[in-house]
């Protein structure tokens, strides 16, 4: 048996070898770009399909009408008002709690088993399927706390869902504040909270804002947990207005009103066999998708701006 020979070292062989390996490099660039653009292309197809299917429903009537048994008269008034109010509850609860929890974990928590337990919990909650939050809300908010199938239940459910998003984003941006800045403030005699509120928090506003918007953009499209708590799709009235004309001018009864939201309205229309409702679904989907993409774009822009403005 002949000993296998090493590849020859003469210039031509080497050149041939390098050339063939470089071709494979080029090929991979093509494959990589193809994979990337296939994904981006499907996003484009998805959006244009929604816009085309729903094209005849982009009217003022669609935005200002309640759902109806006749597809052509149905609209999303109750859905977008409901979505806005639910988001208000979610933002008002998830953001403060999430930011404060993140501050605790990043700035205060001593390194011990107890902090470890909280950390593992946060990581784990980020991976819990959204529908499980729905089951939690069904058992806890709807039946144990007797909040019913109301706006406050929905808002709190989505708040639980996005809490890990807010916590993780806030921690990341707190972490990006250099240690030297903290030391400077401590060196002047600041307490931990003073260091946090005067320096660390203000310098990480961009990241926190980004996390908040990304969290809310996830919440606004979330359907499954709200179906689980029993959200209705057919709501032909608006919640009590939060502002009234008698003192004290603010009313909170809307919190306990029943509701529907954009994604549930869309789901309801998608599941109907009548194709006329499909174009309602497409129009609602286009609006919903437009809203989430817009929120994401704003978040990316804020992140970009803050990265540019503070350069450590």
């Amino acid at each position: 048996m002949a000993t296998p020979a090493l590849p020859s070292n003469d210039l031509q062989t080497v050149r041939r070898d390098v050339a063939s390996r470089k071709v494979r490099d080029q090929l991979f660039v093509v494959v990589g770009l193809l994979a990337l653009f296939a994904c981006l292309f499907s996003l484009l197809v998805l959006f244009s399909k929604l816009v085309m299917d729903g094209s005849d429903r982009f009217t003022w009537e669609f935005v200002s009408s309640f759902p109806s048994r006749r597809a052509a008269q149905a609209g999303i008034l109750a859905a977008w008002v409901g979505s806005s109010l639910v988001m208000l509850v979610t933002a008002c609860t998830a953001v403060p709690v999430g930011v404060m929890a993140a501050i605790y974990l990043e700035e205060y928590a001593p390194k011990n088993w107890f902090t470890g337990v909280i950390e593992i919990n946060v990581t784990n909650l980020a991976g819990v399927p959204s529908i499980v939050y729905g089951l939690l809300a069904l058992g806890l908010f709807v039946y144990k706390f007797d909040l019913g199938q109301s706006i406050v239940t929905a808002g709190l459910t989505l708040a639980l869902l996005i809490l890990p998003v807010v916590i993780v984003a806030t921690r990341e941006s707190l972490r990006s504040v250099p240690r030297a800045i903290r030391e400077a403030a401590y060196g002047l005699g600041a307490t931990r909270w003073e260091v946090t509120k005067d320096h660390v928090l203000p310098y990480s506003t961009g990241g926190i804002l980004t996390g908040m918007i990304l969290g809310l953009s996830r919440a606004i499209g979330e359907t499954a947990p709200l179906i689980t708590i029993g959200a209705l799709a057919f709501i032909a009235f608006l919640p009590t207005p939060p502002l009234t004309d008698v003192a004290p001018y603010v009313s909170f009864t809307w919190l306990t009103d029943p509701f529907t939201v954009m994604p549930i309205q869309m789901f309801n229309w998608v599941s109907r066999p009548d194709p006329a409702f499909q174009s309602n679904a497409a129009a609602a989907g286009a609006i919903l998708l437009g809203m989430t993409l817009l929120m994401n774009a704003v978040a990316i822009y804020i992140r970009y701006r803050f990265r540019k403005s503070i350069n450590w």
């Binding site: 030297a180 800045i181 030391e183 403030a185 401590y186 060196g187 002047l188 005699g189 003073e194 005067d198």
Partner: protein, 288 residues
């Protein structure tokens, strides 16, 4: 000494609503103790990171309104020692101080467990290796320490900020752009801003941790000149890896090696006639 104590007591009892009366005389110095008396004294000071003993039984006196330099090869513990004075190590878990740093004229132990590190830092300022201004305006950087202490009167803040910037030789460059971001300053200016920030709170000791290691030679010369002037108002303790710098700015020099204090004395003597072999080896460039 008695009179200054009573000022503090007065303001503490009169409550917080009237504008605080504050003597504004940054150029004159507090007559708390005669120059060259002990301002602080380390006695048997050891410091541990977990199981590692980084400082071993250090005894050193820091004289009032003098510049004391700490020199030694990298890793000798000079920065670690400096950071004991304002308890920066308390920010790191698993650290322990043994022994004492007596602080005069009050005579209490800076590193004792029941002494509050925040209180210590309110009396002993620090300037760091790299300029670390807050990403706020120049004015707010200098005013921050005063704001922490509850000063909110605008006129008073302006006066004190100006005084501090003058003491740090930055006033002429900064007076027209007090509202500009501190990050628009050059590196040397930023470091002088950090000095002004520390001075504004009238510290009794000012710690410098290799303050010029990130600066160019011209900026370094300005800072050195400044430190030499500062000895009229504040006790200075400076860590430097640059022996010429120690020779230029300090009155006393302490040489540290492997976590121990090898030798301390008049700067001129340490550099011309060191009594220990290790010191001589270091200043003649055998190591480090």
């Amino acid at each position: 000494m008695e009179t200054t104590m009573s000022t503090a007591a007065d303001s503490a009892t009169t409550g917080g609503h009237e504008a605080p009366r504050i003597a504004i005389n940054m150029d004159g110095h507090r007559e708390t103790a005669p120059r060259n008396a002990a301002k602080a004294r380390a006695e048997g000071l050891s410091f541990h990171y977990g199981a590692h003993r980084a400082l071993k039984d250090i005894n050193l006196e820091i004289p009032e309104r003098m510049v004391t330099a700490l020199i030694g090869p990298s890793g000798c513990g000079k920065s670690t020692f400096l950071r004991c004075f304002n308890r920066m190590h308390d920010l790191t878990p698993n650290t322990r101080y043994d022994g004492a740093i007596h602080f005069y004229p009050d005579d209490f132990n800076l590193v004792a467990k029941d002494v509050d590190p925040i209180e210590v830092r309110m009396r002993i300022g620090m300037v760091f290796q790299k300029p670390n201004p807050f990403p706020k305006s120049i004015f707010e950087n200098v005013a921050y320490g005063l704001r922490l202490r509850g000063v909110s009167n605008r006129a008073l803040l302006e006066e004190q900020v100006e005084a501090a910037l003058r003491s740090a030789a930055l006033w002429e460059e900064a007076k027209d752009r007090l509202q500009a971001s501190a990050l628009t300053l050059s590196g040397g200016q930023q470091q002088r801003l950090c000095i002004a920030r520390a001075l504004a709170t009238r510290p009794e000791i000012l710690l410098f941790d290799e303050p010029t290691s990130a600066l160019d030679p011209i900026a370094t010369a300005k800072i050195e000149e400044l430190i030499a002037q500062l000895r009229d108002q504040v006790t200075v303790l400076i860590v430097t890896h640059n022996m010429q710098q120690a020779a230029r700015v300090s009155d006393f020099t302490a040489f540290m090696y492997l976590g121990e204090l090898v030798e301390v004395g008049d700067t001129s003597r340490i550099f011309t006639n060191p009594s220990k072999k290790a010191t001589e080896d270091y200043i003649t460039g055998r190591y480090g």
